[in-house]
């Protein structure tokens, strides 16, 4: 009769469960952080600027980035 070695079985399943759980929680944390960052960016872009002019969209090019703009 072979020894059952339940300790090895528990170690294999336990290690797998712990690593998968840590990765799952890491993904959830990254998602929460990015949602918060994107929300605050969106709020900042909606606030009026101190000059009274509308703020440029975050992805729109600055005057120097526009095609044909003079290079410094």
């Amino acid at each position: 009769m072979t020894a059952d070695n339940w300790g090895f079985v528990a170690a294999a399943y336990g290690l797998t469960a712990i690593v998968l759980l840590i990765y799952w929680r890491r993904l959830a944390k990254q998602e929460r952080e990015l949602e918060a960052l994107n929300r605050s960016n969106a709020e900042r872009s909606r606030e009026p600027s101190s000059s009274g002019l509308p703020r440029p969209e975050p992805s729109s090019p600055t005057p120097l980035q526009r095609p044909g703009a003079p290079r410094p």
């Binding site: 009769m1 072979t2 020894a3 059952d4 070695n5 339940w6 090895f8 079985v9 170690a11 294999a12 399943y13 290690l15 797998t16 690593v19 998968l20 990765y23 799952w24 993904l27 990254q30 998602e31 990015l34 949602e35 960052l37 994107n38 960016n41 975050p58 992805s59």
Partner: protein, 215 residues
């Protein structure tokens, strides 16, 4: 969609554990330690799929320069490295009571260790280049080259004399054991494939959000 996939995965893993411990019989020669197979084999096979998807997505990226394909490759590589690392660890835990050693440099174990190191290198390469376009291009080439090791890992047990047993599922003539062993293995394999798809879907979502935040 991703949430539904998550619930389906959770149910699949739960059914898989119940089948591995409640339906599968105690193996005659190895005893209950053989139940490690129901987590070890699905992890390794899911990692093959992960690296196969990485290679295909890398080819798509190199041809079309599609950032979405690069994100799939990145996510698949990350999940694949985790799965193959766990596959090596669970195999080592299974090897100690059955072979009498945690590790031996036979062809299967060595080739899978090389696979793990190559894809770990893939992730390190991605992280070490600041320019996202260059990082995607270089890592796509490495991802395609590293995939050549997958058939070497799989067929190593036929091409060389190894301590590792031949494949259980993917072999000529198919599975030859009892169906009471086959079904728990198939259910666990499906559950780990779902888990792979779930993790990749969530990781791709994070990578897309990161790219949007950086833009």
């Amino acid at each position: 969609m991703v949430r539904a996939l998550g619930w389906l995965t959770a149910v699949g893993l739960l059914v898989g554990i119940v089948m591995a411990f409640g339906v599968a019989p105690r193996e005659v020669t190895q005893g209950n330690v053989q139940r490690i197979m129901y987590v070890h084999v699905p992890l390794i096979l899911a990692s093959y799929v992960a690296f196969g998807v990485l290679a295909l997505a890398s080819i798509v990226y190199l041809v079309r320069r599609d950032a979405a394909a690069d994100r799939v490759a990145h996510a698949s590589g990350e999940v694949g490295v985790m799965f193959v690392g766990l596959g090596i660890a669970t195999g080592s835990i299974w090897g100690k009571p059955t072979w009498g050693t945690w590790w031996t440099w036979d062809a299967r174990l060595t080739s899978v260790a090389i696979l793990f190191v190559m894809y770990l290198g893939y992730l390190l390469l991605r992280g070490s280049i600041d320019d996202p376009e260059r990082a995607a291009r270089y890592s796509a080439v490495l991802g395609i080259v590293a995939a050549l090791d997958i058939p070497l890992v799989h067929f190593s047990v036929y091409w060389w004399r190894t301590l590792h047993q031949p494949p259980s599922l993917m072999k000529p003539g198919g599975f030859t054991g009892s169906t009471s062993i086959l079904w728990p293995l198939v259910v666990n394999l499906l559950a780990f494939m779902l888990l792979y798809a779930y993790f990749v879907a969530r990781r791709v979502r994070v990578l897309r959000a990161e790219a949007e935040a950086a833009a």
